[in-house]
């Protein structure tokens, strides 16, 4: 008797494991309704694909120099050619290829810094918020101290001492960026730990690591996701800034920030040197922000309902206009 009941439950459980496929489909449908979010997702997907397949799609080797074809303008100029669509720089390197390869550095730095700083900051925030007392005071004073210290100065010191490389850039930016996650997580934990379901977990006998990671953290995901994506945009800019200052990516490697900094000397005779990588940075940050605002909307049930109502009202209005139109034509 109970054996069959248990079987029923197990079957229902195993069936429900595939529900996320339906959820993903629904999310896709909702995405198509939101034009701005849709554009953001398409742009980001394109950027990621571009970074992954950079060697296959870039027309030239980004480090290949051609001193006979220096500062060639983009293709729409008289002197431009299809061989270098966006022109070449002062060493005759293809700008388009450099922009394509530069996306690798930007995205890689963004992803690794967000996961490193985010992971550390979230864990610190969870500990501070849930354990409270001395742990909280210690972690929060640490955060305050670090926030009070100018981030760029810290980055300059570390990079000057250790020497610039991709790894040090990631480490320095993580060191500078984890505090915002810590603070936000802590404040959210303070609110959630008062909720009855956390008390229920305590009453039932869960130890604190389980409460933190199983009961509190999953309920923070939507706000943390938004924060992480916004931080990603900031990190892309910060990497560009460090490279521009000469402390980030070092030649012969490429990065958008590095290209902007090298092109600045030729800004008045060859604007494309700074504009193309600058536009790449701008488009990436814009796309990330579009996706972030869309994520904020769909992770908030109230906003989601509003948007659904807006969509329904729109389609109803369209149907009414259509009906009026056909009625006008018929008689």
């Amino acid at each position: 008797m109970t054996k069959t009941k248990a079987n029923d439950l197990e079957q229902a459980l195993s069936r429900s494991r595939y529900e996320w496929v339906d959820k993903l489909k629904e999310l896709g449908r909702e995405l198509r309704r939101d034009t701005a979010g849709f554009i953001g997702v398409v742009l980001i997907t394109a950027l990621v694909l571009m970074a992954v397949f950079a060697p296959l799609i870039s027309p030239h080797d980004p480090t290949e120099q051609d001193l006979t074809a220096r500062l060639v303008p983009p293709v729409w100029y008289e002197k431009g050619s299809w061989g270098h669509v966006f022109g070449t720089d002062h060493l005759g390197r293809d700008i388009l290829s450099r922009a394509i390869h530069g996306s690798r550095v930007s995205l890689w730095v963004g992803v690794s810094v967000v996961s490193l700083a985010g992971g550390f900051g979230v864990v610190m925030g969870l500990l501070a918020g849930y354990l409270g007392g001395r742990t909280d005071a210690f972690i929060m004073r640490w955060v305050d101290t670090q926030v009070a210290f100018p981030g760029l100065l810290l980055a300059l010191i570390i990079l000057a001492v250790i020497g610039p490389s991709l790894t040090t850039v990631v480490l320095v930016l993580s060191l500078n960026g984890w505090m915002v996650y810590g603070r936000m997580t802590r404040s959210a934990v303070l609110a959630i730990r008062q909720s009855p379901y956390v008390e229920a977990a305590e009453v039932v006998g869960c130890r604190w690591p389980r409460i933190i990671f199983r009961h509190i953290l999953p309920n923070l995901t939507s706000s943390l996701l938004t924060l992480g994506i916004l931080e990603f945009a900031r990190i892309v800019l910060a990497e560009a800034a460090l490279s521009f200052l000469g402390l980030g990516i070092q030649p012969p490697a490429t990065s958008w920030g590095l290209d902007v900094s090298m092109g600045k000397n030729y800004m008045f005779m060859a604007w494309w040197l700074v504009t193309i990588p600058g536009c790449a940075i701008g488009i990436t940050v814009l796309a990330i922000n579009l996706v972030a605002s869309w994520l904020r909307l769909i992770s908030d049930p109230q906003e989601r309902e509003k948007q659904f109502a807006r969509h329904m009202a729109g389609s109803m209005r369209k149907a009414m206009v259509l009906k009026a139109e056909t009625e006008r034509r018929q008689p």
């Binding site: 109970t2 054996k3 009941k5 248990a6 029923d8 439950l9 197990e10 079957q11 229902a12 459980l13 069936r15 429900s16 909720s195 009855p196 379901y197 008390e199 229920a200 977990a201 305590e202 009453v203 039932v204 006998g205 869960c206 130890r207 389980r210 199983r214 009961h215 999953p218 309920n219």
Partner: protein
């Protein structure tokens, strides 16, 4: 109900004060909220003790203090003859196998991100009572069936259920560890009136089946009358009357109890019309600065000079009925 020789839960002179910060220019004056003060009662195995009072009277705090969720400032709590007032965190955790809590709000007390199966199986996993999914599924299916839910409900999330069904899930979670003592903190006050009776009856059936002992906190007098064997009335952090159920409803002693009972409508219009409602004017005392003497003095229709100076002790008025009043 014949009381067993020794009570399952024994609360003696329990006081719970909360720190409410400091006031004054130098922060010299400490503010304390006197949530519960000098409360004593016994709960015998197999019985239901109803704890009734208006909001802010300290009934939930008493229930939480018994479970060691809030620290007792004074007094002692004994469970099965053992003093649990000052045991450490790990022992409290072990105690959770014997004492459980049912929550008031079934919408907030279930984690929205966990499936019903995970919620009900969690106590079993954290106490190491089940080792694998197979055993857990068996236990959870049994529990869900026992509280009147289909076994495949375990695969769904809390938002798919109504208030009454969620409260059943909460009950199943509390029962998972097979506790002897359950504090039910207003388990039906957030539910529709039509659902209340079902949940109360379920609690009663489970009491018989598992030999449970309840501390039933509520403010709905009709529900308390239905489920309780004995009832304690709290006012402003103190027990003003504690008696067997029928004694309290038939011959209340304390003026506050009388006033409370007169507020319950009788489902018989002529009788109800003839009844006189006792209205207590005035405000309950400030819990940060409780008055000298009786706590009910500011609202009592029979207040005397003595009530303002001396606090009435809880004295025996009839066999099985104690009240704290100078009258």
């Amino acid at each position: 109900m014949t009381p067993a020789a020794s009570p399952l839960v024994q609360v003696k002179d329990l006081s719970v004060f909360f720190d409410a910060g400091r006031v004054g220019f130098w922060g010299r004056k400490r503010l304390t909220v006197h949530a519960v003060e000098g409360v004593s009662f016994d709960v015998y195995a197999g019985e239901t003790l109803g704890l009734v009072g208006e909001s802010g009277s300290g009934k939930s705090t008493t229930g939480r203090a018994v479970l060691r969720r809030v620290p007792a400032t004074r007094g002692s709590i004994h469970f099965q003859g053992r003093d649990i007032t000052h045991i450490d965190r790990e022992q409290v955790r072990a105690l959770s196998k014997h004492m459980q809590l049912i929550f008031q709000d079934p919408f907030a007390s279930l984690n929205p991100r966990l499936k019903i199966f995970d919620i009900v199986a969690e106590p079993l996993f954290v106490h190491g009572l089940v080792k694998n999914m197979r055993d857990a599924a068996e236990a959870v299916a049994m529990l869900l069936e026992r509280v009147g839910l289909p076994p495949d409900a375990g695969a769904r999330y809390p938002h798919a259920f109504s208030g009454g069904q969620r409260q059943r899930v909460g009950i199943a979670r509390a029962l998972a560890l097979k506790p002897r003592f359950i504090v039910a903190d207003e388990p039906v006050s957030a539910l529709d009136v039509s659902i209340r009776a079902q949940v109360v009856n379920l609690l009663q059936d489970l009491q018989v089946e598992f030999g449970l002992t309840y501390l039933f906190i509520a403010h709905d007098l009709a529900v308390v009358r239905h489920i309780s064997h004995r009832i304690a009335i709290m006012y402003a952090g103190k027990i003003v009357e504690l008696a067997d159920r029928d004694l309290i409803y038939d011959s209340p002693v304390h003026p506050y109890t009388k006033a409370l009972l007169s507020a319950v409508p009788i489902p018989d219009p002529p009788v109800q019309r003839a009844r006189k409602r006792i209205i207590c004017a005035g405000e309950p005392p400030n819990p940060m600065d409780p008055p000298l003497g009786c706590r009910f003095q500011s609202r009592c229709p029979h207040v005397m000079h003595r009530c303002r100076w001396e606090e009435p002790p809880l004295t025996e008025r009839a066999p099985g009925q104690r009240a704290a009043c100078w009258l």
